[in-house]
């Protein structure tokens, strides 16, 4: 064993954790090496001195103070003794009621928006049509549909929306809503009668929504050029 190794073993040796054969090697080396013997001596002296270090005494009343503090901590007023905080908005009944009312109002408004125009039918009896004067053909407005006509409707004159149809008069791009396309004919007859115009001699049928869907692009172009309404001749 060399001095370097002996020095590294000194700490473990003094703890009594060194294996027996290594202990013997170390002791043999220390016996022959003065430098290592001195290191071993210093190590032992330090450890003995460490066990007998001067001890500082605690004050006599340490326990008393400690238990007083423990008692004080145990009897310290908890949060429940403190003044109550203002409860959160969500913990107040009025907060919940307000929220429920607000949500219900929003729901009603949404139903109103979605439902308006969904089921209203055209009131035929109302004289809301406007005839043009003079020589022009019978251009009219009948209860404009609330939504503006789409470009597609303007071109084709008809479009489908669920079970109902829209028919468009091309003259002023207003849309009127009808339940089916056969109704359009009777509407025109009624309009002409009220306006004192000659009865239409014939109609060009609108292309129905179902038809349009089945048309290809070329046929759609043809439909777009198709006259929507042929009024009585001579107008």
């Amino acid at each position: 064993m060399n001095c370097r190794k002996a020095l590294s073993y000194l700490s473990v040796y003094s703890d009594g954790l060194l294996p027996n054969d290594t202990v013997k090697e170390l002791e043999d080396h220390v016996r022959d090496c003065k430098w290592c013997a001195r290191e071993k001596f210093l190590s032992q002296e330090i450890q003995v001195a460490a066990k007998a270090l001067p001890q500082t005494k605690l004050p006599e009343d340490f326990n008393l103070k400690l238990f007083s503090r423990i008692y004080a901590e145990q009897h310290r007023p908890t949060e429940s003794y403190l003044p109550l905080r203002e409860p959160s908005v969500w913990r107040r009944p009025i907060g919940w009621a307000t929220s429920v009312v607000a949500v219900a109002a929003c729901a009603l408004f949404a139903v109103f928006l979605l439902g308006r125009g969904g089921h209203d039918t055209l009131p035929i009896s109302e004289p809301v049509m406007h005839a043009s004067s003079g020589q022009s053909t019978s251009l009219f407005t009948v209860r404009p549909y609330r939504e503006p006509a789409t470009a597609y409707e303007n071109v084709l004159g008809v479009s489908g929306e669920r079970s109902s149809y829209r028919a468009t008069s091309f003259a002023n791009a207003r849309t009127l809503r009808v339940v089916d396309d056969s109704f359009v004919e009777s509407l025109y007859v009624e309009l002409s009668r009220r306006m004192g115009l000659p009865q239409p001699s014939g109609f060009t049928r609108y292309a129905s929504h179902r038809d349009l869907q089945s048309f290809g692009p070329r046929q759609q172009r043809v439909v777009s050029r198709m006259p929507v309404l042929q009024t009585a001749s001579g107008q």
């Binding site: 002296e45 330090i46 001195a49 270090l53 001067p54 500082t56 605690l58 340490f62 901590e73």
Partner: protein
């Protein structure tokens, strides 16, 4: 409460001296010791019976001490007398004379914190390496290494003072420090 009083009596002096040597301040050691026992009382239900009570209470005390040392690093306390009289630094004002125990006490305070803690627990408080590893939450090998390093530092620093003792010891088998 009676049994708790017994526990306090059993550990208070050992813990107080460890804290005192770590913090170099009796007042702070006193406060932290009180805080340690208070926490033990408050968290007595969370004590894990698989581990030794000594390990648990040492862990609490040393954590408090480390927190205090960390706080000191953030807030530097300066002694106005150091400026006024330009005294040497505190570490240099160690007793140059006296017996080995006083010298060792002074040198322990100068050790780096991690070596000081390991040395105090092992050589002053006689905790096993396994217990120290649990208290400090470090591997066993690290504890052995720190204790070894602390002993080596102290040996080198105290060597000049112990030379005389060594010469004296040649005629006796007893440690010179107890003569």
């Amino acid at each position: 409460m009676v049994s708790y009083n017994t526990l306090v009596n059993r550990y208070k002096d050992r813990l107080f001296n460890v804290l005192n040597r770590m913090l170099s301040s009796e007042d702070e050691a006193h406060d932290l010791l009180q805080e340690t026992f208070l926490r033990v009382w408050q968290h007595k239900m969370s004590y894990d019976f698989r581990f030794a009570f000594s390990t648990w209470i040492y862990t609490i005390a040393l954590n408090l001490a480390r927190n205090e040392l960390r706080r000191r690093k953030k807030i530097k306390f300066l002694d106005i007398f150091d400026f006024a009289e330009k005294l040497p630094a505190k570490d240099e004002r160690l007793p140059q004379t006296g017996n080995l125990r006083n010298l060792l006490d002074g040198e322990i305070k100068r050790l780096p914190e991690k070596y000081k803690t390991a040395f105090l627990l092992r050589d002053v408080d006689n905790l096993s390496y396994e217990e120290i590893a649990q208290v400090l939450s470090v591997p066993l090998g690290t504890v052995k290494s720190r204790v070894n390093r602390a002993r080596a530092i102290l040996r080198n620093r105290l060597k000049p003072r112990l030379e005389e003792s060594y010469e004296l010891s040649k005629g006796t088998v007893l440690p010179v420090s107890i003569l």
